[in-house]
Amino acid sequence: MKLAGIPGRSSLGSLILIAAVIGCSAAAFAYTAGWLSPSRLTPDLMIAALTPPSGPPLGHRRNHAKGICFTGTFEANGNGVELSRAQMFVQGRYPVLGRFNLGTADPNAVDATVRVRGVGLQISAADGEEWRMAMINPPFFAVSTPEAFHDLLVAAGKKDPEAMTAFTRANPEFAAFAAWANAAPWTGSYAEEPYNSLNSFVFTNARGDEHAVRWSLLPTAEPTPIAQAELKKRGPDFLEQEITDRVQSAPQRWTMVTTVADPGDPTADPSRAWPENRRKVQVGTLVVQRIEAERDGPCRDINFDPTVLPRGIRISDDPFPAARSSVYRKSYDLRAAEAGDYPRSGVAKP
């Protein structure tokens, strides 16, 4: 057969060349998309590892799936200006949207069974700049890298106890976290917990000076240790009820403390705490004024992506914020598509 009236002989080579160019382009595209390398750690693989055996929490976040919304203010005392030119550090009050949550992929988990508690926050400046963050109560993270976190999820999900032993051998930093999980006191309230950024970020001030920092929210409520067994008696959702009642009677406060790294402190590894004597700057107070059920609450549709940062704050060499951003985005895409499985109460009425 001749193509478009041009004799075939010499065009055979050209046809092969064209096929090769198109084929190689398509293959390069498939490789870039990860379709040819099933072992690459993708957000999909991370989410698969987070998914409990009972199935994905449809309509919910893929981790920290159980939570409750709040609104309030961040009262900056002005001290942060020395470290960062972020507008939220200029003395004043900034609106806050947030969410208390549990480190579990099960939105129906029993509160007393979940070791890690967290908070998602969004602080807004007048011109629309936003600072989003998601923090948890342990003083350091369980592992050093996103890959190790994936391995931890996979090992923890296996019935074989040898899986966790092998994981701990390969990731010795996990021992410190396990020790914290065993020994740290439990409390009966979200209001009695400290929350830590764990990841390091870089603050830039108006002069252009840069500092690697981590930050924490320290509760002003006095923590009262309670045995886990005791908490189990309080019902599956006692934390939500408790924080609702507590905030109804009075706004709850946390002091935000920024810890400044010394040169040489590990900024890329959130499993390694910095020495206690590092410089600390109190930059303001989080005031939680109103609790709202998540189902219809204002935090529901916010992705507390820790890389949504105002000018004056940027990510450091810590690999976690990028990984979290990537996985949170996927989690958001999924739950937005599944909104029908977790309908707002207004929509839910038949």
């Binding site: 478009a4 160019v21 198109i22 998309a33 990860g34 936003e130 690999p319 914020p321």
Partner: protein
């Protein structure tokens, strides 16, 4: 009557090749960034968003040039079916070039993400958060993006077909290389 041009104007050729490079980069960055949790995810997404907005501006300039300066005619001996295919595929290419950045921006707005480009340039929000709108726009952005890549490959194959097999001067109309005049006086 003015004779139709037998090549695209130099600005049109420049825009074609500049945008071709950027669009191919965008498609690769797009599928690459959503399949990684590595630190490069953040710079990739920043480039993707910034380049997307730049391409949206460029395609509008290009469309204006196309409407003003026109295009060289296709060879008279090209079969009508191929001519129709060429017209349709070019319409589709322009459609994708305009639609893709708008879908991308829309899905970010519908997810309540602040849209911040390279250099801290912030694009104001034009849509409220909406699960339904986000899902629709996100799916459209993904699947049309894949279709866009397929169309780019088809376009590339057609260009090579004209350049290597038909040798009918169609490729020369857009070729980035300087061309000798068709009818040159004998040397």
């Amino acid at each position: 009557m003015t004779r139709p041009p037998h090549r695209f104007a130099p600005t049109q050729r420049l825009l074609h090749w500049l945008m071709a490079f950027c669009i191919i980069a965008m498609l690769f960055i797009g599928v690459g960034m959503v399949s990684t949790v590595a630190p490069k995810y953040l710079p990739l997404i920043l480039i993707h968003k910034t380049l997307g907005v730049v391409l949206l501006i460029l395609v509008l300039v290009r469309l204006a040039l196309r409407l003003r300066l026109g295009a060289p005619p296709l060879p008279a001996d090209l079969p009508p079916a191929i001519k129709l295919g060429a017209r349709l595929s070019h319409l589709l290419l322009y459609g994708f070039m305009i639609l893709m950045p708008l879908l991308g921006l829309g899905m970010l707005w519908a997810a309540a993400y602040p849209v911040v480009l390279f250099g801290g340039i912030e694009i104001p929000e034009f849509l409220p958060q909406s699960d339904r709108a986000h899902t629709l726009l996100w799916n459209a952005h993904v699947y049309l993006g894949l279709a866009f890549f397929a169309l780019v490959l088809l376009h590339l194959a057609a260009a090579l077909f004209h350049a290597l097999i038909r040798r009918d001067g169609v490729f020369a109309t857009i070729s980035p290389l300087p061309q000798r005049e068709r009818m040159k006086p004998a040397e």
